[in-house]
């Protein structure tokens, strides 16, 4: 069974991973994405300290876009099931923001699919992150833009 969820509660990533253990599979690859304290600016190289994060979503579209990604990934890679859980609201440093678990008969496809899924999620799923610093805050804008 696949699942796509948004939650304001803390995510236990080990529990997410164990929700998909299909009998035809031998490996699950799980990404545990969590809130980073120190972020290096890609342009200036300056390191900024984050106090906490806030995530918001366009919820119905976020769920439907995650579902699309799961369907596409199952067509592209030799995998059986995918579970995605994304946290919303306020997150302390180190708390899990996103979990992607991919179960496959053999591990290689699961690693590839998991990387593809997080890359596409960050590009297409309508969720936004605000970084709060000691001296200000910023809603982060991704790189994708309408053509």
């Amino acid at each position: 069974m696949d699942f796509n969820e948004l939650t304001t509660k803390p995510i236990d990533f080990t529990t997410v991973a164990r929700r998909i253990v299909p009998p035809d599979c031998g490996a699950t690859v799980t990404l545990d994405g969590y809130a980073r304290k120190f972020t290096k600016d890609k342009v200036t190289g300056e390191v900024r300290e984050t106090l906490y994060l806030e995530y918001e979503a366009y919820k119905p579209m976020a769920i439907s876009e995650m579902k699309k990604l799961v369907e596409i990934s199952k067509g592209k890679f030799e995998i059986s099931n995918v579970g995605i859980v994304h946290r919303l609201g306020k997150l302390e440093i180190g708390e899990t923001s996103v979990v992607i678990s991919v179960a496959a008969p053999h591990r290689a496809a699961a690693f590839t699919a998991c990387e593809w899924l997080i890359r596409e999620l960050k590009r297409t799923v309508p969720i936004w992150k605000k970084e709060v610093y000691a001296d200000g805050e910023e809603w982060i804008e991704g790189d994708s833009e309408k053509s």
């Binding site: 995530y55 366009y58 579209m61 976020a62 923001s97 997080i118 960050k122 309508p126 969720i127 804008e141």
Partner: protein
């Protein structure tokens, strides 16, 4: 917000109408969707449709 437009208009023309009303939006990298699906811009927006314009996403 409710957009009142006489004849049928495309996603792109309504998007431009919104940008003219809120020019500061031009500072951002923007995406749009119609009824919770990414739009190409050519779709005709009908009564009751949900057009969303938002900044480039940053989840994960």
């Amino acid at each position: 917000m409710l957009l009142d437009h006489g004849e049928p208009k495309s996603v792109d023309s309504l998007y431009n109408q919104v940008l003219e009303t809120f020019p500061k939006l031009r500072r951002h990298r923007l995406l749009y969707s119609l009824n919770q699906t990414y739009a190409t811009g050519d779709e005709i927006v009908c009564d009751g449709d949900e057009l969303a314009i938002f900044t480039a996403v940053s989840g994960g």
